[in-house]
């Protein structure tokens, strides 16, 4: 569908409404969509923070202590709390959408949505458990 849309070309009398920049404010489902899209920024932020942490770790004790100090600043703590909430939103909304994209058939019938969604949550719990074990084992 390259080029201009196939309306009868530039018919002077037909009225075209311009889409407002703020179209997404018009209803809750659009606002929820925009929040889900915005959550990607926070996912990127977590990746950057993780890279910074790994870099500081490689630079030695003093660098890592400085990184830890940075993380305790109120603004960063607040940002991280907001990030956590957005990550939850990102993860849950995408997990719940997986059955729409993945259609599995067993014995000629479509596998129920729950069986597509559940493995995501199980994997999330297991991986979180493993990470928690590494962090908390002392």
């Amino acid at each position: 569908m390259k080029g201009s849309p196939a309306y009868r070309e530039f018919h002077p009398k037909w009225y075209r409404t311009r889409v407002s920049t703020y179209w997404w404010l018009s209803q809750w489902s659009y606002r929820k969509f925009m929040l889900r899209e915005l959550s990607s920024v926070f996912v990127a932020y977590v990746i950057v923070i993780t890279l910074m942490q790994a870099h500081a770790l490689g630079q030695g004790r003093a660098e890592y202590a400085a990184f830890q100090e940075l993380m305790t600043r109120p603004f960063v703590v607040l940002l991280n709390v907001v990030t956590f909430l957005f990550l939850l939103l990102h993860t849950i909304t995408w997990f719940n959408l997986t059955p729409r994209a993945i259609v599995l058939r067993l014995g000629g019938r479509r596998v129920p949505d729950l069986f597509i969604i559940a493995p995501n949550y199980v994997a999330w719990l297991v991986i979180s458990g493993v990470v928690a074990w590494f962090v908390l084992r002392g």
Partner: protein
């Protein structure tokens, strides 16, 4: 007919005005009236110049889609009583050019629909003597949901991607292409792939999901698009690791 309701209807008479205006009509109604009945009451009794499309009155033809209080609806399936005491705002389908009053130009949709070849394509037809192409209930079940589309275009009016970028192929057209791709009798998926896997095809979709919510036939165009994204990605990956193909 004791109760009445006010309809706030978009009027656009290109020979008289430069942009649409709103006209109010007070109409009586009973419990079994749908908005299309109310519009027809206006046309028959109050103002014969009001223009809108309709045909079957029973959710089959897909002609009477309009914006009702900002939501895309088939007016033959929206009861007036649900909007009482009113007023009800009735506008032409969003994102389409308005020809007159509630009538929009569907040319863009029709051209796009034709472009994805929504019919069964055979590489080689078998002779009639060999009989029909048989299909099992399981094979039918794979595409049946997508075949329920009535081309009412409510999904386009719900899709902000189409609103912002009218070159986007759009929900119903992709769902109908997928309907044929998944048909066991069809061999045309390669012919549709190039168009569908284009930036203006499936990859234009950001999965807002509203197309599925407004669909009066439970077609799930958003699902069709995401499923096709998986197929296109798998195909690309296969062609990447096996460039000579495995037919």
């Amino acid at each position: 007919m004791a109760e009445t309701i006010v309809l706030q209807v978009t009027r656009y008479r290109p020979e008289q005005e430069a942009e649409p205006t709103i006209q109010e009509y007070e109409v009586p109604f009973t419990d079994d009236w749908v908005l299309l009945d109310a519009l027809n009451y206006v046309k028959d009794n109050i103002d014969g110049s009001l223009s809108f499309r309709w045909s079957c009155r029973m959710g089959i033809c897909g002609s009477c889609g309009m914006m009702v209080n900002g939501e895309p609806k088939l007016t033959c399936a929206a009861f007036v009583s649900e909007y009482a005491p009113g007023p009800v705002r009735i506008e032409p389908l969003r994102y389409f050019p308005i020809i007159r009053d509630l009538t929009t130009d569907m040319t863009d949709f029709m051209e796009k629909l034709k472009s994805v070849k929504p019919w069964i394509i055979r590489q080689e037809e078998k002779p009639i003597s060999e009989g029909e192409y048989l299909q099992s209930p399981e094979e039918l079940d794979r595409y049946k949901q997508f075949s329920m589309c009535i081309n009412c275009m409510l999904c386009y009016a719900a899709c902000p991607v189409y609103g912002l970028d009218p070159t986007f192929t759009g929900p119903a057209v992709i769902a109908l292409a997928q309907r044929y791709n998944l048909d066991s009798r069809d061999q045309g998926s390669r012919e549709r792939l190039e168009l569908l896997s284009d930036h203006e095809g499936i990859w234009g979709c950001t999965f807002v999901g509203e197309c599925t919510k407004v669909c009066p036939k439970n077609v799930d165009p958003a699902g069709a698009i995401q499923q096709y994204k998986v197929t296109a990605t798998t195909d690309w990956f296969k062609s990447f690791i096996m460039p000579r193909g495995v037919e």
